[in-house]
């Protein structure tokens, strides 16, 4: 069946898509029919930046076992990292997003002035 179930989250970071690297803003996670994988249902993840167009997307379609293994590996990795590095990563990402926001505002002002 098509499950219709979709988890949507905000994302900070970067992904590499068909046209190279780009900043990510959101992610969707769902278990449904895949586009390419041969399993009948897969755990699908789309990491996207809709502001850069629908093609700004990194997609994976994983078997349920592979998806669980990936999720557990991510959590194990994060758990193994010293807490201050995690805090630093969050703070740097927030700063980077703030700077990017200012840059976008700046371009908007320039565009209006032109």
């Amino acid at each position: 069946m098509c499950t219709y179930i979709t988890e949507k989250i905000d994302v900070a970071g970067s992904g590499k898509g068909a046209e190279g690297w780009f900043p990510l803003t959101e992610g969707t996670v769902y278990f449904d029919h895949p586009v390419h994988a041969t399993a009948e249902h897969t755990l699908n993840i789309d990491l996207r930046n809709p502001g850069r167009g629908p093609g700004a997307r990194v997609a994976v379609e994983l078997t349920a076992d592979a998806a669980r293994a990936l999720a557990e590996a991510i959590l194990r990795t994060l758990d193994a990292v010293p807490a201050d590095l995690i805090a630093g990563s969050e703070s740097e990402a927030a700063q980077s997003q703030a700077v990017r926001g200012q840059a976008v505002q700046g371009r908007a002002v320039q565009s209006q002035a032109a």
Binding site: Y4, R48, R57
Partner: protein, 255 residues
């Protein structure tokens, strides 16, 4: 080189058609060359996308002698994008709204009726999520025949499934009394969505409302048994299903 004389020829390719709210949307069409009047079929693709597998279904209808068109249901979400990217954008927005689906199928039907070799009769067929949407269209538009291939939540309540969105997928109980044309349903006996009990419920409701419903459930088949590139493909069910689809549309879409 000698010019070949082809019979049974059709042309297939991409076309822009009117969709919901007057928007121009992309669609994939198979147009029969023979000028003799014939019926048309609107194909509703499955949820993953407007893709190679569903375009092959459109061409199959051209081969069977029907004009056919399949609107790209995610065009509204990302015009011009690669179909899988558009599907992802649509998914992130919550899926295809029911009113938009009806508008797009209506546009596809208008496109087919306007063809010079149309006899004015239009059918609709959908697979998976498109099965439910095919029934929805047949309850909402003046169509002549409809086929539901294993569509979940025509009957059956999705609200009890954990994580299921509450607003954008609802069963069609309130629509079924308005079904405007004969319906053919093709299901897998091993499918859970729709389950055999939900298929029986649909049969009982349509009998109660006095609607024409031909239903077949295939033993040894589950969901998506028509999809040739999937492990769910069941050749015997698919072969028999195609024969029933051809007979059903030939009967109800003839002038």
């Amino acid at each position: 080189m000698t010019e070949a004389h082809l019979t049974g020829a059709f042309t297939s390719g991409t076309v822009m058609i009117p969709g919901h709210d007057g928007a121009q949307i992309e669609a994939y069409a198979a147009l029969v060359a023979d000028p003799a009047p014939r019926g048309g079929v609107v194909v509703i693709h499955h949820m993953p996308a407007y893709d190679d597998a569903t375009k092959e279904i459109v061409r199959r209808f051209g081969h069977l002698g029907f004009n056919a068109v399949m609107p790209n249901l995610y065009w509204h979400d990302a015009p011009g994008a690669a179909p899988d990217d558009a599907a992802a954008a649509g998914r992130a927005k919550g899926g295809v709204p029911d009113d938009r689906l009806v508008g797009d199928v209506s546009g596809g039907a208008d496109f087919l009726r306007a063809l010079p070799n149309s006899n004015g009769k239009i059918g609709v067929i959908g697979y998976c999520s498109g099965g439910r949407q095919s029934v929805l269209a047949a309850c909402s538009l003046p169509l002549d025949a409809a086929v539901d291939c294993y569509g979940a939540f025509v009957t059956g309540d999705p609200s009890g499934i954990e994580g299921m969105p509450k607003n954008n997928i609802v069963p069609l109980y309130d629509k079924l009394p308005d079904l405007r044309c004969p319906l053919l349903g093709l299901f897998g006996a091993d499918d859970r969505y729709p389950s055999p009990d939900q298929v029986v419920e649909l049969e009982q409701l349509l009998a109660k409302y006095g609607k024409s419903f031909e239903s077949h459930s295939y033993e040894g088949a589950g969901h998506a048994f028509f999809m040739v590139e999937r492990t769910a493909f069941r050749p015997e069910a698919a072969k028999d299903g195609w024969e029933r689809i051809n007979a059903f549309f030939s009967k109800h879409l003839s002038a």
